[in-house]
């Protein structure tokens, strides 16, 4: 599904990713771990097509297409979803209406009939109760005045609505208390149905107690220095990243 080859990329002429290769297949959960400031979030920005981040060399293929040539909304419509580390606030734009726009954009791409506000409310209510999310999320403006935890829940709610093929979770566990983390992790697990793939970017191994990745990759100084199975996460919890940083 996703094939990253020797990706070198950065921001403002600075090289942050220094040759990343990673293959994610349908139905797989991968985790990228590492300390802050080593390029994990840069990878997520490259995957969604953030205009400030530039690819210097290497390639990214997504379902056989050159991902790097696709504009950001095209990537989204093809099923790539980023759960943001810091979701942006959009004052004045109703959260439910925003999600309906996104949902309708997807339906339109699939050649299906669009939903009106009433029909969408049913879809939204179902997902909200699945994730145990309070109804006030509907009325508020997108992320405006949300606490850190609420913003993360809102990201997962959008993910549940849009049912992406490839979900990238960027530090979804940071700033969450343990109860909120469980809700978010349960939500993620409910969405994993074997047809989609998941890339969880995280600093802390504790998320991986709830989301079980097939592969764990350690990213240091813009490179993947080690890959392994779920055991690697446990090992990192005990030893930390220090021994990888030179």
């Amino acid at each position: 599904m996703l094939e990253i080859k020797n990706l070198v990329a950065g921001l403002d002429g600075m090289e942050i990713l220094k040759g990343i290769s990673l293959t994610v297949n349908k139905g797989e959960i991968h985790s990228i771990m590492g300390p802050n400031g080593h390029g994990k979030s840069t990878l997520s920005k490259i995957l969604i097509g953030h205009p400030d981040y530039k690819v210097i060399s290497g390639s990214v293929a997504y379902n056989g297409r050159n991902l790097l040539e696709m504009p950001p909304e095209e990537r989204a419509l093809e099923g790539i979803f980023l759960a943001y580390q810091y979701p942006v606030e959009i004052p004045g734009v109703n959260n439910a209406e925003f999600m309906r726009m996104a949902y309708n954009a997807k339906l339109k791409r699939e050649g299906k009939e669009l939903v009106d506000a009433l029909d969408f409310e049913e879809i939204l209510n179902a997902k909200m109760s699945l994730l145990g999310i309070e109804s006030k999320f509907r009325e508020r403006s997108v992320n405006e005045g949300f606490s850190g935890g609420e913003k993360k829940k809102n990201e997962i709610l959008q993910m549940a609505i849009l049912e992406p093929r490839l979900a990238v979770l960027d530090e979804i566990d940071s700033g969450l208390d343990i109860d909120a983390l469980k809700i978010v992790a349960e939500g993620v697990n409910k969405l994993a149905d074997g047809n989609n793939a998941l890339l969880a970017i995280t600093h802390y191994p504790r998320l991986l107690q709830y989301i079980k990745p097939r592969s764990v990759h350690v990213m240091i100084h813009g490179k993947i220095v080690r890959s392994g199975g779920h055991d690697l996460a446990r090992e990192l919890e005990e030893t930390g990243y220090d021994r990888y940083i030179h």
Binding site: P91, A102, K106
Partner: protein, 497 residues
């Protein structure tokens, strides 16, 4: 951001902000109404002097009191200087290079719609304003003003059954001289300011409305203004009187052809609300804004709009969507004289290209327990400059006056600017005045967030702007709100980013 202020006599602050983040967020839709209707017109030669004023008066067959009004206003005007305190930059206006009267021929009084020249009917059809018979099915009565003259007023008969007078002001001067004499200039006297004096001297037409006591006007009333001739100024005059316990909602729309020269538009709107009366006045202003690339041409829009809440418990509400004109200088306000009266001002001012707007409101509290609300949303894009200027004045006799002001600015692009000039003058310590303000910009991160959810950049900009303006849109009559949203969207169509 909330504060209660008493008695400062200076502008609270002045914000100047730029948005460096979105250099080319979108491009503009071409102006759709820029065509000219070829029609034979009766035009006075360019220039102004007392003889011209007398000639206009003669062409309108004015009664003596109107001739005196005009001549006095003209003499006043010659003693006044063009105001330059606004945040607008434009070259000197040559008042002798403007023609002050243009009327489509025939100039005889039209007895029915059949007598309106077909080119003019077609012009209004093209603008989406149907004056033909089938129009009677819809629930809006229209007074159509072409250059300086009212060419048609629909639904007059049905309105007459309710005792409502809705006609051109020149007809009102002839048919209802007592009402005109009593109220014309009672809200905006010709001594008020330079442009008010000019308008009072040369205005040729406009709309007149009188709602009798205990009457709720059964339909929306509307005037559509069209400037057609190059080098002609448009100076219309609107007077609306709502008698005791009456209610009226009034809509004004404007367009003009595309010329490389600037056309002068200096209008006056006066509203009078007596005891328990309510007037709701909505404007969608889409005059030609000039060439968006060069700033050439466009309407100079200098407008004085004021309402007088004369009666107890009366209410006047202004809602404006200002999207056109090269220059907009306009401060619709309310003078709250009756006890418990209230005034409202809701505004969206969108400027792009090289447009400049200096607009806001004036709320003058005189009666006891008077209330006012000002909600202003300014959007600036491209090279445009957008200023809010507002005055809230509480007179010494005005016990328990309350005002709430909120002025928000939004910037799109890196060459535009937004400015805020609020003035508060409180002479009574029981006043409660609140002022909130914000400046925001559409950020690249916000647009990307939409895009990451599969929503296009254009739709993202549109959605953010509609969200920004919704407090104002919801004040508009329903169909009009849809039109206004479309108009904003059209002006900011098509992302190139």
């Amino acid at each position: 951001m909330e504060k209660t202020v008493s008695m400062p006599r200076y502008p609270l602050y002045n914000t100047n902000m730029k948005n460096e983040e979105i250099p080319h967020a979108y491009k503009r839709e071409e102006y759709k109404y820029g065509f000219v209707t070829p029609i034979e017109s009766d035009v006075l030669p360019k220039g102004i002097n007392e003889d011209v004023v007398r000639a206009i008066s003669a062409k309108r067959n004015d009664p003596d009191f109107m001739l005196d009004f005009r001549v006095n206003a003209y003499r006043q005007w010659t003693k006044m200087a063009e105001p330059h305190w606004s945040n607008l930059k434009y070259g000197p206006i040559d008042y002798q290079a403007v023609s002050y009267y243009s009327a489509p021929k025939p100039k005889k009084k039209l007895e029915s719609l059949e007598e309106v020249p077909p080119e003019i009917l077609r012009t209004f059809e093209k603008l989406g304003i149907s004056l033909s018979e089938q129009k009677r099915l819809s629930n809006v009565a229209v007074d159509a003003v072409f250059d300086s003259v009212s060419v048609a007023t629909t639904h007059q008969k049905k309105l007459k059954e309710h005792g409502i007078i809705f006609c051109s002001i020149s007809e009102a001067i002839k048919e209802h001289p007592d009402l005109v004499r009593k109220y014309l200039g009672s809200v905006v006297p010709y001594t008020d300011n330079f442009f008010a004096a000019l308008n009072s001297a040369v205005f040729s037409d406009g709309s007149f409305v009188y709602i009798p006591p205990d009457t709720k006007c059964p339909m929306e009333l509307s005037t559509y203004f069209r400037i057609n001739t190059e080098e002609t100024g448009q100076f219309e005059r609107t007077l609306i009187i709502a008698d005791c316990n009456s209610h009226v909602s009034y809509i004004e729309g404007c367009t003009a052809p595309q010329f490389d020269t600037n056309q002068l538009h200096a209008a006056i709107v006066e509203l009078v609300a007596l005891d328990n009366a309510e007037i709701k006045y909505s404007t969608v202003q889409n005059w030609y804004a000039g060439d968006p690339e060069t700033g050439k041409g466009g309407i100079f829009n200098f407008v004085v709009k004021r309402g007088k809440c004369l009666g107890r418990n009366s209410k006047i509400s202004w809602t404006q969507i200002e999207t056109g004109s090269a220059i907009t200088w306009k401060y619709p306000g309310c003078v709250l004289i009756g006890d418990n009266s209230s005034g409202e001002f809701y505004s969206v001012a969108l400027t792009n290209g090289y447009q400049q707007a200096d607009t806001g409101s004036k709320m003058i509290h005189i009666g006891k327990n008077t209330k006012s609300v000002i909600i202003s949303k300014g959007i600036a894009a491209d090279h445009a400059s957008n200023s809010y200027r507002g005055l809230v004045r509480v007179a010494g006799v005005a016990e328990n006056a309350r005002n709430y002001t909120q002025c928000d600015s939004m910037l799109v692009g890196d060459k535009c600017s937004a400015h805020t000039f609020p003035y508060i003058e409180a002479d009574n310590s029981s006043a409660q005045l609140e002022h909130e303000a914000s400046t925001s910009k559409i950020s690249e991160e916000q647009l990307l967030y939409f895009q990451q959810r599969g929503i296009s950049r254009e739709e993202a900009i549109r959605t953010i702007l509609n969200g920004f303006c919704k407090d104002v849109f919801k004040q508009l009559p329903l169909e009009f709100a849809v039109e206004a949203q479309k108009l904003l969207a059209l002006k900011l169509e098509k992302s190139v980013g």
